[in-house]
């Protein structure tokens, strides 16, 4: 199965997570493990939401909101696409990800893709 793993941080903490050299080294090592295990299909880090924008569809109106997304509880800081055998395998990989500094709350959200077989029974 293919999963997307979203790295989420609390909106308020977004600016606190400027990575240190040590964190980057740990993350590189972890990424290398994922690559060497054949799990990693793709991945990337995202710049702070201050440099992004949202297009919002609501009440029949379309509006554009510039970052930072102060109203969002959680902000996506990066993602991976993994090929794994089961959700449990993805959870186990995610558990082994080097964690945050303790001051911030980070969440790795794992979401399986729809597979072709999910559509087998649909006309």
């Amino acid at each position: 199965m293919r999963v997307m793993v979203m790295i989420k941080v609390s909106g308020a903490d977004e600016n606190k997570i400027a990575p240190t050299a040590e964190m980057l080294a740990e993350m590189n090592e972890y990424n290398e493990r994922l690559v060497k295990a054949g799990v990693m299909l793709d991945g990337g880090g995202l710049r702070p939401s201050a440099e992004g924008a949202q297009v919002v569809f609501a009440g029949g109106q379309t509006s554009v909101v510039d970052g930072p997304f102060t109203e969002s509880k959680e902000i996506i800081a990066g993602y991976w696409i993994w090929q794994v055998k089961s959700l449990e395998e993805a959870v186990e990989w995610a558990r082994q990800c080097p964690g945050g500094t303790g001051d911030t709350r980070e969440v790795l959200e794992i979401r399986p893709y729809y597979e072709e077989s999910d559509f087998d029974n649909l006309g």
Binding site: V35, K36, Q83, E88, E89, V91
Partner: protein
């Protein structure tokens, strides 16, 4: 979450490197796997009570290493001093690479190599492998234990092959990976989803190998080939299960993640600065199709040139048949027919329905309808499935009718 399923997931993540490390210690793959399994049984007993350790790999390695060293001491398997020195922390890349080479060792029959690679390097259970290869579980179990016994009896050294041996040993490994892939890729119908998993397993093995041997362009070439081929999975079967030809596929349904992954791997193979091998060339051909937004946009001259190269590297009538198809689009039916007639006498082509299907098409384009109909009828008689037979008969009938 169920601890048992967690342990299974940890097995899949940790077992290959753990077994590889243990095999170096005890110099026997079968024994190494048994020790690893015992460590996992301990995990199954202890983790539900004590919780899953933060670093499950280190936990398992230390339990298994203790057992291995005890065993060596007790059975005097090896010099004890050696055992203590060798029992340094595992997880080395060279151990895993040795495990891959031993699972695909030429001393084993081909079908056992695939099974052993899935079992030892892929971390799959016997039951799963059996289902994927459509054989009874007991048969697969016997096949795997026989393979382990063969390795043990032949005293195959547990090591990465040296430079002189490496090229042909590596191509044996790549062949196993591609065999697993095609086994899964050739399946189409709904109840064969389990076999589809084989393509994912093969791609995973390929990526593991690419991580271990980043300087070998053919490893990246194979990874690219598998990714680009499987990117078309969704598009190559119609709503009623009928095969959809490349020219008729809805290209928007091709898998963009696998395409990006495949093209990146192809780039790595090409940048290695070595002559291109057959997997890389086939991946480059697949990439030509991938890059064309519509079938009409295909760069057929490039495809023909790549088939020329492939014909030099790995000559086969099937390659010539594909080259003929490319020539049909690049230079027209006369050029294609010349190539097709050149391989007509090959026994493999005489039995191959796609040969007749292609030649029939080419003859039709040349206005030689009687011959085309005859060729298509003959191809229909050779078709392996009813659906293909029916399609070819319809085309033959159309060739006759439209005179």
């Amino acid at each position: 979450m169920d601890v048992r399923r967690t342990v299974e997931a940890v097995w899949r993540i940790e077992a290959p490197r753990l077994v590889a490390f243990l095999a170096r210690l005890v110099q026997d793959v079968g024994l190494a796997e048994e020790i690893a399994q015992e460590a996992f049984i301990s995990a199954l007993e202890q983790w539900p009570r004590d919780g899953v350790p933060d670093n499950p790999g280190a936990w398992l390695t230390s339990v298994a290493r203790r057992r291995a060293v005890d065993l060596i001491r007790r059975e005097r398997l090896r010099d004890q001093k050696y055992a203590e020195v060798a029992a340094e922390p595992g997880g080395e890349d060279s151990d895993l690479l040795s495990l891959i080479f031993i699972a695909c060792h030429p001393v084993l029959p081909r079908e056992s190599r695939a099974a052993l690679a899935l079992r030892l390097v892929g971390g799959l259970g016997t039951e799963e492998i059996a289902r994927a290869f459509l054989v009874p579980s007991a048969t697969m179990g016997q096949r795997i234990s026989r393979a382990k016994r063969t390795l043990s009896e032949a005293q195959v050294p547990y090591e990465v092959p040296g430079d002189d041996e490496l090229p042909h040993r590596l191509s044996a490994v790549l062949e196993v990976v591609y065999l697993i892939f095609t086994e899964g890729y050739s399946s189409t119908s709904g109840e064969e989803w389990i076999r589809r998993d084989l393509t994912e397993e093969a791609m995973r093995l390929g990526r593991v190998l690419a991580g271990l041997m980043p300087r070998e362009p053919e490893v990246h070439g194979l990874v690219a080939l598998m990714a680009l081929q499987s990117s078309r999975f969704r598009a190559r079967v119609g709503p009623n299960g009928e095969p959809v030809l490349l020219q008729d596929q809805d290209r928007s349904r091709w898998d963009r993640t696998l395409i990006a992954h495949g093209l990146a791997a192809l780039g790595r193979a090409r940048r290695a600065g070595k002559p291109l091998g057959p997997y890389t060339v086939q991946a480059a051909i697949a990439a030509c199709h991938t890059r064309a937004h519509r079938f009409e946009d295909t760069d057929w001259d490039a495809v023909v040139a790549l088939y020329d190269a492939l014909g030099q590297l790995a000559p086969s009538p099937v390659v010539e048949l594909n080259r003929a198809v490319a020539l049909l689009h690049a230079d027209g039916p006369h050029a294609a027919l010349a190539v097709l007639d050149g391989i007509r006498e090959q026994p493999r082509m005489a039995r191959y329905h796609l040969y007749g299907a292609v030649r029939g098409d080419v003859l039709l384009k040349l206005g030689r309808r009687d011959e085309a109909a005859e060729e298509l009828e003959r191809a229909a008689g050779l078709a392996p499935t009813l659906r293909e037979r029916t399609l070819l008969m319809e085309r033959a009938a159309a060739a006759n009718r439209d005179q």
